[in-house]
């Protein structure tokens, strides 16, 4: 699938969403899915929406086995009342 230029942080929400859908159920995509959801969180100010994407980022980090990233995301979730 075509990739967007630049850092995902700069991608518009539509591009992030397209990339997330393209990676759905793809083997080995957990680490990237985690990063993309964390970027998607930045597009939201509503705490519920932010917690949603943070949760998704956490689950995919767990799947990827990235323990350092998991610890940071769990701390962020606790701060937002998600854990």
């Amino acid at each position: 699938m075509p990739s967007m230029p630049g850092s995902p942080a700069a991608w518009p929400p539509e591009a992030l969403d397209a990339r997330l859908r393209a990676l759905h159920d793809q083997p080995g995509a957990a680490a990237e899915l985690s990063r993309l959801h964390q970027q998607a969180m930045a597009h939201h100010s509503d705490p519920r929406a932010r917690r949603f994407h943070l949760t998704q980022a956490w689950v995919f980090a767990l799947e990827a086995g990235d323990t350092a990233r998991c610890a940071q995301l769990e701390a962020d979730l606790k701060a937002l009342g998600g854990l």
Partner: protein, 379 residues
Amino acid sequence: MDHAALSTALSQVTRPVADAKGLPSVLYTSAEAFALERQKIFTAGWACIGFGQDVPQPGDAKPIDFMGMPLLMVRDPQGDLRVFENVCRHRGMILVDAPRNFGGVIRCPYHSWCYSLDGRLRATPHVGGPGVNKTDSIDSASTGLREIRTGLFMDVVFVNVSGTAQPFDDFIAPLRKRLSDFAEKPLFAGGADSSFSLDIHANWKLVLENNCESYHLPWVHPGLNSYSKLEDHYCFIDEGHSGQGTLVYNPDLAFPNFADLPAKWDKSAEYPSVYPNVFFSVHRDHFWAAHLDPKAPDHTIERVELYYASEDAAQADSFATLRAKNAQLWKEVLTEDIQVTQGMQQGRGAPNFDGGVFSPEMDSPTHAFHAWVARRLAA
């Protein structure tokens, strides 16, 4: 199934061998009897489900259909082999549908509940509402994967699903004693060229029974007659296993021997059938085990894995031709058996077949297995 008739038939099986009948045909043909065996033999006791080599690396996981029970064999990060029920504790979804390696958690494909490789429930995303990942009503500590009691002997994996059978060390002790010259020695799996499976349209018991005795060798395996004659074989019966051995093992192979073997293994080999569903084949220079996977009353998958005494013998290119020759030899022998196991399966359709009779001299190991099955089913 007529349970009164079955009870009567089972009581005839447990008589002394000269007066005994074989197991009744219904135990080879009926779905109800298959379900009874699943409960009283395969769930209540120890049974083989595969090999440690199926999950060689930490994080490896292999789903197993054990008589309709979904299990998951896992190599945890510490290198220990564990077996779990392969279902999410949330909605009972199958967790893993194909062998793979997990670098992190096992994530359920339904609602993404996540489990560590030691079975702990690690995450319950959105369980308390969107973005809220905990809820008071679900206790993570008691909602991990259901672990199954597991035992490993010579790389053969046994499980006790009920959790109520005797300790594994007690179960395996008689076999460990018989094979004590080999049991603690390093084994090296031969890999793809030392592995094969046979699809047999016969009941699992018939495959094991056939391995119990040497009586059929001159008739079914004429090729063996040239170097391993009927009169060179002997029988043995022990708790939980029975079988046959030969006193003239002398193959045209040049594998290194297992270290420090007593002299008796220079020419001997033994073939214990371990109840209910695995048989071993032990020689001074190689070992194999055959796992019988019962799929239906009249369908069994027999999977054979060969092992050697050194890494070179098991994996080096210099031994590849010899390994292939050895595996092919055993595959030919075990394929020759299929005609009789399938023939006996067909024979169980005869309305007046009464289970058959046993020769005390030649069939005692087979009768020992029948009597073991009868006692398990009657319990």
